[in-house]
Structures are given as C-alpha cells and as structure tokens.
Amino acid sequence: MAQISSIANEQTSTPLSSSKSITLRISRFNPEHDGSSRFMEFSVPVEKWTTVLEAILEVKKHFDHSVAVRYSCRQATCGSCGMIINGKPRLACFTKISELNSDVITVEPMNNFPIIRDLAVKFEKLFDTHQKIKPYLIRDDTELVSDEKEFLQSPEEVEQYIQFANCIKCGLCNSACPTMATDSSFIGPQALAQAYRYVADSRDKGKDSRLKIIDDSHGIWRCHFAGSCSQVCPKGVDPAMGIQLLRGYLLGFRS
C-alpha cells in the first residue's frame, strides 16, 4: 500500500531537486473568517514544462494543504481550474510557468464570481444563465426514433457554429467581461455565445424563443464589445463575434 502511494506521489509531483524556483503568490480568502483577501508567498521548484496548476498542487503537497483550488482533467477540457494568473484570466492547467516570463506568479480567484475559498469560485450563476438560453436543439421531431432520419448538415452549415461548440464552461470570458463587473444581472458572454451556437445551428428551430430571452434590459444589448472575452478563451471561441452576429438577428440583418 505504501509502495502504491509513493508511485502516485512520484507521478503527480514536480521533483524538488529542480534547479529553478519561482515565487508563487496565492490569494487566500475565506468568506467565513476573513474580511479581505491576502497573499501568501511560496517558493516553488519548477521545470520548463511545469504548469501553474502543478505549482499550486506542489504548494498543497509540501507547504500548505489548506489552499483551496478546483481542478480535474489537467488538460484544458473540464474547465475547472480557471483563475487570474498574473492579472489575466487563464486555465491553470493550460498555462506553463515558463511562458509567463516572470519569477513571480500571482494567482487569484476569477473576477465576477463569488468566492467559495481561496481560488475556488461559485459557478451557479454561470450554469443558470447557460441553462436559461436553452442549450439544446429545439424541434418537434427527433433523430432518436428509428423511423426518423438523422439531421444532416453540410460542412458549411457546421462551420456556422462549430467554434462555439468548443466552449468548456470555464467562466474565463465572464471573468474578463467589464460589463459583468458592474451589471450583476448581465447574462454574460458565455451564455450569449452559446445562444448563438444554437441559433446558428441549421437543425435548431428555437431561434425565436432564444432571441426573446436575450432581448432583455440586461441581455445582449449591454455588451460594449470590449472583446476581452474572446481574448481570454482557452478554446479559441470568439464570444464577442457571436454576440455581434446575434445582434444581426435582432436588428433584422440576419434571418
């Protein structure tokens, strides 16, 4: 049993014998006890392939196990480890320390999300707004019944929305959005991009109901087209473009 444990440790930990080390500044905040957040600094050994998430896990393993961080897949697929790294929203598992070109790495929880503790934030609002725009195909028939045909699409029709289907719901776009910082009721770039994903899907028939949902005083019109959502997306989704294309439907330029 002890042998299995040591093997697991070897696989998950950066070797402490590394020649280079960086200072990792982690924002600590527990809403139950603390009035404001504070930074704790740790000297962490790194290799050129070490990611920010690995450095945080190194801190948890060797220095302070109480650091709260959410993570799962470690390959930019689950969207769990979003945080502010050196001032910019990024996925910790997808950000190598070597690419930051700094010996001091500061990690903070994402902006525009309530903090659970330290680097972990609540995703309820993100999932609520995502659910609100009906993120599924709306139509009366189904391709699941055997006597129905599958819904065919041409490559051009797929091209209309496919980049928006890459969203992993990490929340980095909402964290970067300046409107979300002031308007707590704003639906947000993540949900708006997903609304476009389904509106632009040739198989979907729910365009009118989705456009009605986003055509609200805190809906699509509150976007100022800062474009920061598109800049921070780790999956190459362009929510700012999706929002402009959606506006085209509402203004009558697209049908």
Binding site: T179, T182, D183, S184, S185, F186, D215, D216, S217, H218, G219, W221, R222, L250, L251
Partner: protein
C-alpha cells in the same frame, strides 16, 4: 417596449443626429460663426420655419438618444426592480421635459412672444 426596439431607435437617432448636426454646423459656419450667435440672427433662425423644424428634430433626436444612453448607464451601475423602473420612467420624463422646454423656445419666438 422590447429592448431591441429601443436599441434600434437608439442607433437610428444617433445616425440621424450626426447627419442633421453636420448640416446645422455647416449652416453656422457659412454665415460666419461669430455673427451666427448674435441675438437677431438667432431669432431669425428660429423664425425661418424649415431651419426651426430641423433644430426641433435635432432636439428630439439628441434627447431620445441621450436619455436612453443615460438609462443604459444607470441600469449597468446598479440593479433592482424598483431602481430600474425609477431610472426608466425618470429618463422618459426628463426626455419629455427637455423636448417640451426646447420646443417652447421655438414656439414662443414664432408666436412673437420674445
């Protein structure tokens, strides 16, 4: 009213105001800017009905666009049902008030009350 309808009005008034304000500025510059601000010239402009109608239109366009812009800014600043209703109706009232006050000036001059 649907937000998309309000925003269509918002964009439309902006485009129309840019065009009409450009005409207004050109007309001011044609006769010399300093002279155009003289009391008699201002009165004459108001009495020239086509020009007064254009000024009235600019007033309406800018008031609608400006107060809707203010409403949007205030809605982003703070949220809440009562607050949002107050802002929307407050901006509408202010817009109507400003248009009425500006129109009153033009009407009074044309009626020879000034």
């Amino acid at each position: 009213m649907k937000e998309s309808t309000i925003m269509k009005i918002h964009y439309g008034t902006a485009l129309a105001a840019v065009a009409l304000v450009a005409v207004h500025i050109l007309m001011r510059l044609m006769g010399g800017f300093a002279e155009s601000l003289e009391y008699e010239n201002v009165l004459a402009n108001y009495k020239f009905v086509p020009y007064a109608a254009m000024l009235e239109l600019i007033l309406i366009l800018l008031s609608v666009h400006g107060f809707n812009g203010l409403r949007v800014i205030l809605l982003e600043l703070k949220q809440g049902r009562i607050y949002e209703k107050s802002v929307s109706y407050g901006c509408l009232a202010a817009m109507i008030g400003l248009i009425a006050y500006g129109s009153r000036t033009i009407i009074m001059i044309n009626m020879g009350l000034v």
